[in-house]
């Protein structure tokens, strides 16, 4: 690969050319981890992410190129868009796990995808029961029991997320591929259901607070 501007040979896909200082295009297939200079991992060093985000923003943000030529402005926009996406996604523990799963070919964050993930019957019944109980609290405008449910579901969500992280960790270390992938996917599908539930409780709280 070479710099589009000065044609010098580039190694390791730098954000800006070390020779002429021009912003480079986002390489095809670049991941969000690449955007922050990280190896794919379950855990990230949050203060380091904040620091890298600021440093890289200062390098590639479109404001730095307000008077540059159109091509470089376009590359700055692409780089910053990816960087912002990486910062938003990788700082959040659950979003990071979903993204790792996506890197392994399963995107559960899409609206139509979650429904397609076949869930064990027992879990669906559990969710159904939770929903019915919440509906009853909503009708009764009973906030306290809804909050208690929310805390309980929050714990179940954390447990499912930890389970997903263990499986993803195993996947990243190269162990038990098919079974680990399935375990991560199952656990994150549960996280998705629980998150929806927590959002509903929050919406109910806001509605009742008005």
């Amino acid at each position: 690969m070479e710099c589009w501007n000065c044609q010098s040979e580039l190694t390791a896909a730098p954000v800006v050319c070390p020779r002429c200082g021009k912003v480079q295009p986002v390489p095809p297939g670049a991941t969000l981890f690449d955007a922050l200079g990280l190896a794919p991992s379950v855990e990230v060093d949050l203060p380091a992410v904040e620091r890298t985000y600021r440093e890289r923003s200062l390098l590639v943000h479109p404001d730095r190129f307000a008077t540059a030529q159109a091509r470089e402005r376009r590359f700055a926009l692409e780089q910053t868009t990816l960087l912002n996406d990486a910062y938003r996604t990788l700082r959040d523990r659950a979003a990071r796990a979903f993204y790792l799963l996506k890197l392994h070919g399963q995107d559960l964050t899409r609206e139509d995808a979650g429904a397609q993930r076949a869930m064990p019957h027992a879990f669906l019944e559990e969710v159904m029961a939770l929903r019915e109980a919440l509906d009853a609290h909503r009708t009764a405008r009973a906030l306290e029991p809804a909050r208690a449910m929310s805390e309980d579901v929050g714990r179940r969500r954390t447990a499912a997320l930890e389970e997903a992280e263990r499986a993803l960790g195993e996947l990243l270390r190269g162990g038990g591929q098919a079974s680990a992938l399935d375990a991560a996917s199952q656990a994150l599908a549960r996280v998705r259901y629980f998150t929806r539930f927590l959002e509903e409780v929050e919406a109910m709280e806001e509605a009742l607070a008005e």
Partner: protein, 614 residues
């Protein structure tokens, strides 16, 4: 002196100073960095820096802007236009056009607001704003004795895409290259941040003439990061004036005032409001009617407007994941924050006295000048960077009128998101895509930004075509949408333009409403999902009954059809619970029949297999 006529013009680097412009509802300002210091440029002979955002259209076609236009307003109330910022990006029948005012609205092509004026065709708010920008540009050019071609123009943080687009268009009309649309609270923070060299987390409370914004920002090592923003783009000091004027009208029993009376009353109300920021009482005099006004009385009249800002601030703090105690300071911006009741309210809301050491009328323009300098001055580029956010979520209409959010509000810009759609019918060659902005669950409750059609999809079986739609929001907060069919690469790109004027008190109300309606929304969404599911189930059952009539007994069939009819009836009603129950029953009843259908299909498949093997 620089920028003379003899200088060679390099299109990539226009010569002359760059300026920051605060295009306000009531007043507008132009500022620039002079000897390293942001400074407002005088716009009148007396050295004043506020240019009233008022434009007068004379019968001879000439145009007056600023203080002169404001003087003419009394004599020519309908052809002198004030506060047009309220109508930027709005439609002809927007709620904003029904508020007390002396405007004469005109009809015309496309759904935008137009004002009847003397001396020519009706004008849009974009054209009126362009007159104000042009006047500022001329004042700056006289000051510098040089051409001014590039500017940073500020907009309320809560402006939606249509309002931003309109502002950018006004700049273009005025002959300015708009280097950046900068959010007003962010500009104010920039002016403060550079002055104090500070670090920390700040709230900016910006109550202008016609718009309210609140932004929560973090400043770390030269990077200003907006954490969240909120607002109401139809709330401001103008509402205080109208509240006072309406009380006066009621007291005099004037039900149908003339435009001249409205203009006179609004002007007198503004004077009284300003007097009451320092005095405990004042006298309002219009057409020989003298009314003694006490500050406490007026504070009662305007209290509802001030209180509307409370929930907006709390939501912004929550979105930032912070509480008031986490803040290092609260910055006041906008002329309306001079009202003592507003200051008391802010102090109580955030639990600390607000900072107001930079003139709240000037601070936005000063920040815009700083940003203009940062964007164009290579020596300053490493000092400071602004990272701003999109104020309202962006989404697409999906089945059943549900809005699916693709970019959440308060996402740092620039940003992008994409979504893959598929065809529902065999040989379908087009897909309609509807782009909306807002927080509510249903499309009908969001602001419609644009509709576009992806055509030329090659004929394929249903579900085979895969169309990727990509939303991009640039650093100005402006949206562009592109779409392409993945297997063939057929592409169509559009930039979202304000295509229709909308029934949108909702636009500004959307976020507030989404709090009130959150519960209602979830139920509405569930109902929509149930209906879609019901249609699928009914279609499937009808098909199987038609193809396998021999696998079901007459009594079983009539029972099943009765329940199907009931599902059909409930699907057009509003009782999601009953619909869900009845679908569950249908599922039970159909199970034995569907098992027989399944067995037959399997036997056929196996038979086919063995035939091939022979």
């Amino acid at each position: 002196m620089s920028g003379g006529l003899l200088q060679i013009h390099d299109p990539l680097r226009p010569q002359g100073p760059v300026v920051g412009i605060d295009l306000g509802t009531t007043n507008s300002l132009v500022a620039s960095v002079l000897q390293g210091k942001p400074t407002c440029i005088p716009v009148d002979e007396a050295g004043g820096v506020l240019l009233p955002s008022v434009v007068h259209y004379a019968p001879d076609g000439s145009v007056a802007v600023g203080a002169r236009a404001r003087e003419l307003a009394q004599e020519h109330p309908t052809t002198t236009l004030a506060s047009v910022k309220r109508f930027m990006g709005k439609g002809r029948h927007d709620a904003e056009t029904r508020k007390l005012g002396a405007y004469r609205f005109a009809d015309g092509a496309g759904d935008v607001v137009r004002f009847e004026v003397a001396g020519g065709a009706p004008v849009t708010p974009i054209e009126v704003s362009a007159e104000i920008l042009r006047a500022l540009k001329r004042r700056a050019e006289a000051f510098f004795s040089a051409r001014v071609e590039q500017a940073v123009v500020t907009v309320p943080a809560y402006f939606d895409d249509a309002q931003r687009q309109a502002t950018r268009d006004a700049g273009r009309l005025a002959g300015l290259e708009v280097l950046r649309l900068l959010n007003e609270p962010t500009a104010a923070a920039l002016a403060y941040g550079l002055d104090k060299g500070s670090q920390g987390t700040f709230a900016v409370y910006d109550l202008g003439g016609g718009t309210f914004d609140v932004s929560i920002l973090q400043l770390v090592e030269g990077v200003f990061q907006v954490k969240s923003t909120g607002g109401d783009s139809a709330l401001g000091g103008d509402d205080f004036d109208r509240a006072i004027a309406e009380q006066m009208l009621a007291a005099r029993g004037l039900a149908a005032p003339t435009p001249a009376q409205v203009t006179a009353l609004l002007a007198a109300a503004r004077v009284a409001k300003e007097a009451l920021t320092t005095e405990e009482s004042t006298v309002l005099e219009v057409e020989g009617h003298r009314t003694e006004l006490a500050r406490a009385q007026v504070e009662q009249w305007i209290a509802p407007w001030i209180q509307k800002t409370g929930p907006v601030c709390r939501r912004a703090l929550k979105d930032a994941g912070l509480t008031a105690a986490d803040l290092d300071g609260v910055i006041l911006v906008g002329g309306a924050t001079r009202v003592p009741a507003v200051r008391r309210f802010v102090e109580q809301l955030f639990g600390r006295p607000p900072l107001g050491d930079i003139d709240p009328d000037q601070v936005v323009a000063l920040g815009a000048a700083v940003q203009a300098d940062l964007l164009t001055n290579a020596q300053r580029q490493d000092e400071v960077l602004l990272l701003d956010v999109i104020p309202l979520s962006l989404g697409l209409e999906t089945m059943g009128g549900v809005a699916e959010k693709l970019i959440q509000r308060n996402t740092t810009i620039p940003t992008a998101a994409s979504q893959v759609f598929t065809t529902f019918q065999d040989d379908q060659t087009g897909i309609d895509i509807h782009v909306v902005q807002g927080e509510r669950e249903l499309v009908a409750d969001c602001r419609s930004l644009a509709r576009f059609r992806l055509s030329g999809i090659p004929p394929m079986a249903a579900g085979m075509a895969r169309v990727e739609v990509r939303f991009e929001v640039n650093a100005d907060g402006l949206l562009s949408v592109s779409a392409r069919e993945l297997s063939t690469g057929v592409a169509q790109s559009i930039t979202v333009k304000p295509t229709h004027g909308l029934t949108d008190e909702q636009v500004e109300q959307m976020l507030l409403d989404s709090i009130e309606h959150a519960e209602e929304d979830i139920q509405a969404r569930q109902l929509v999902e149930q209906r879609v599911e019901a249609e699928r189930v009914l279609a499937d059952a009808t098909k199987q009954l038609k193809e396998n009539p021999d696998l079901i007994e007459a009594s079983e069939r009539s029972e099943l059809e009765a329940v199907m009819a009931e599902v059909r009836r409930l699907a057009s009603g509003n009782d999601a619970e009953a619909l869900r129950e009845t679908m569950r029953l249908l599922d039970e009843l159909a199970k034995p029949f569907l098992e027989r259908v399944m067995n037959r299909a399997m036997n056929r498949a196996l038979a086919g297999h063995s035939v091939e093997q022979v």
